[in-house]
């Protein structure tokens, strides 16, 4: 059976069960409209109705700083690679963030494989949580088809009002169901309730947030390399790198050595970097291949909407809206796309209404 039920008053028991075997992290309210994935000890601490957390769950897959090696130069160049991981259960991950994790999985599984990432990934259990409506105006999950679950989780919870219904996607998910003894099998009526909820979602997410068909986005970007929109962003962007830090599919990094005070031992670590930083594409000879902020913003948009299509057959924008929420200069992803669309005369106000990609039914 792929669907199970959890009573609402047993959520706490589920968290306690998970916490016995690993660190459990979930979205926790951090003041007005701010949420963060944080370690919790019981279910009361978690917030399930949240707008996307300030940082996406990528911080558990590739921490802001991650040691790659320790070294000792007392007798030459001696280095010991380090692969760190810890058992973590990610609880309450929205579908946009599941998509972000799927993007990162593809990047770091590609050869040459990234052992540091994969070790962490293999130690993480993911329990997704469905959004029954829009979180806020910045989201564009419908456009990139991430408003409904597309895998990438072990268990996936949907709130049916008085109870949760859970889709079991992996053996790890199945184990939780079996060993926690908290679940009961979903009945036909529960599946029907899930289907009704998804039907209602189809009405809420009735069309793309941005007037363009999903399939037309690569063409839009093929035409937009010389767009005036980038010149506009050039004037507005302050190159702070917020947009890439908060992006669930941005993974660029820098590799840095940090000597200890003895100056002979130390560590080599990687740290999140941003293509928005001025020196990101600069080479030793002095040439900077993306000197202007507009060129760097353009690069970011192409990395979300154009480049990954050929390599990974998917958009790397997850529709979470974080870049727009975090931008100090109010550069808004939805507005940028609308400007590009208008410039190319590709506006289609009904885009997505009859999507060519069929919605998945609730029973797989």
């Amino acid at each position: 059976m792929q669907y199970n039920l959890l009573n609402k008053n047993q959520l706490n028991d589920l968290i306690s069960f998970l916490a016995r075997e690993q660190k459990v992290v979930a979205p926790v309210a951090q003041g007005l409209n701010n949420y963060a994935f944080t370690e919790i000890k019981n279910g009361i601490q978690a917030t399930l109705n949240y707008i996307p957390t300030t940082l996406p769950p990528k911080k558990y897959f590739m921490p802001q700083r991650e040691t790659l090696a320790t070294y000792d130069t007392t007798q030459g160049q001696n280095m010991d690679p380090v692969v760190e991981h810890e058992k973590v259960a990610l609880f309450g991950v929205h579908t946009c963030d599941l998509a972000g994790i799927q993007c990162l999985n593809m990047v770091f599984s590609e050869k040459p494989k990234d052992q540091n990432y994969l070790a962490r990934k293999n130690a993480i259990t993911i329990i997704g949580y469905e959004c029954n409506a829009y979180c806020d105006r910045f989201a564009s999950c419908r456009l990139v088809h991430n408003h409904t679950p597309n895998g990438g989780y072990d268990l996936f919870m949907t709130n049916l009002g008085d109870k949760f219904i859970l889709h079991v996607n992996t053996p790890a998910g199945e184990k939780i169901i079996e060993r926690s003894h908290l679940f009961s099998l979903a009945a036909k009526a529960d599946l029907a309730a899930l289907e009704r909820l998804r039907q209602k979602k189809r009405e809420i997410f009735e069309k793309n947030e941005i007037p363009i068909e999903h399939e037309k986005i690569p063409e839009l970007f093929d035409k937009s390399y010389q767009s005036k929109v980038w010149a506009d962003l050039d004037k507005r962007c302050v190159a702070c790198g917020n947009c890439t830090n908060v992006c669930p599919s941005c993974y660029c990094f820098d590799v840095i050595d940090e000597p200890n005070l003895d100056l002979t031992t130390g560590r080599r670590y990687r740290q999140w970097d941003s293509c928005q930083n001025e020196t990101f594409a600069k080479v030793a000879g002095g040439e900077n291949f993306r000197k202007e902020r507009g060129a760097r913003q353009r690069h970011r948009y192409y990395r979300k909407f154009r480049f990954p299509i050929e390599k990974f057959s998917r958009f790397f924008c997850t529709g979470c809206g974080r870049c727009s929420r975090a931008c100090m200069a109010k550069i808004d992803l939805k507005e940028t796309l609308v400007s590009l669309i208008k410039e190319q005369g590709m506006e289609n106000p009904n885009a997505g209404r009859q999507s060519t990609i069929a919605e998945k039914p609730a029973t797989f």
Binding site: L68, A69, Y71, T73, G76, Q77, N78, M79, D80, P81, V82, V83, V107, F108, E110, P112, K113, D114, Q115, N116, Y225, Y251, C252, F253, D254, V255, I256, D257, P259, L263, T264, G266, R268, R270, D273, C275, F280, A281, K282, V283, A284, G285, E287, F289, R290, A295, H299, Y302, R303, R306, F307, E310, K311
Partner: protein, 273 residues
């Protein structure tokens, strides 16, 4: 810990250090017990633990066994520290990385080498490979340009290439000094004078970013097909593994898909040239 971390370095022993110009030194490095086994045009990541890591192209031909050579201009933190090293010191090496020059495809064809400034450093790997396997290649022309005579590298080797009857060598400087008796002018000024059969000529171009556009224009004037113009693009190849993002050009990662590309492949990629 038993891991196959792609960040693990191999120990490189410096066999010799040679001052080339006021800014460049050549390091001869051996990996104890093994050859680097690189292809001409590939690069390595060179480490000094506690200081950092930087991508450097291999300057020696794979025909040279037992050791390899790096020519390093002192421009930053790591290269500054490298310049302080002497024979017997150790460096960390990862690699070789990237796609080098397609030697198998070049075989049987005429070659026109165009090197600007430090471009001769990676190109020397292929030139010496070709000279080492001379009968496998057709006509060979080498054009070299640099800013002034003092910056010219590999004086003795250049003299050797010049003397060979099976290699046409020509060089120019942007600005002469009183002792200079050769050509004065940009590297592009040497291209029209080369006689070539465009159908069977591969042009191999390495130089500073600014050079490519102008040299390629001259090569296209000579009717060399776009897929027969090979270039090596300079980017900051930080991780060498196609992940960190620094060397990305459009959809390609220079460290994995390059640094050697055909002009045909990159001409439409915004920001490549």
């Amino acid at each position: 810990m038993n891991t196959k971390s792609p960040y693990q370095i191999k120990i490189g022993k410096i066999l010799s250090v040679k001052q080339m110009t006021s800014m460049e030194k050549m390091f001869e490095i051996a990996l104890p017990g093994e050859d680097l086994s690189h292809a001409p045009g590939q690069f390595v990541e060179v480490s000094l633990l506690g200081i950092g890591e930087a991508p450097l192209s291999v300057s020696s031909s794979p025909t040279k066994q037992g050791s390899f050579e790096l020519v390093v201009r002192k421009v930053g933190k790591l290269t500054g520290a490298l310049h302080k090293l002497k024979a017997g010191d150790e460096v960390g090496i990862r690699g070789p990385f990237g796609q080098g020059f397609p030697v198998r495809i070049l075989e049987g064809n005429d070659l026109l080498f165009v090197a600007g400034g430090l471009g001769i450093v990676p190109l020397r790997s292929l030139i010496n490979f070709v000279i080492g396997n001379r009968k496998n290649f057709g006509k060979v022309d080498i054009l070299l340009g640099c800013r002034n005579p003092k910056e010219m590298l590999f004086h003795e080797e250049l003299a050797g290439w010049k003397e060979r009857l099976d290699v046409n060598f020509n060089c120019t400087v942007d600005k002469a000094d009183p002792d200079w008796k050769g050509n004065v002018g940009l590297i592009t000024s040497l291209i029209p004078g080369v006689t070539l059969d465009s159908e069977r000529t591969f042009a191999v171009v390495v130089g500073p970013p600014i050079m490519y556009k102008f040299v390629i224009m001259k090569l296209l004037d000579k009717n060399i097909p776009e897929r027969q113009i090979l270039i090596s693009l300079e980017r900051h190849m930080k991780c060498g593994l196609g992940k960190c993002g620094h060397c990305q050009i459009g959809n390609t990662y220079c460290c994995q898909d390059g640094p050697v590309f055909t002009y045909e492949k990159v001409k439409a990629i915004g920001g490549a040239i």
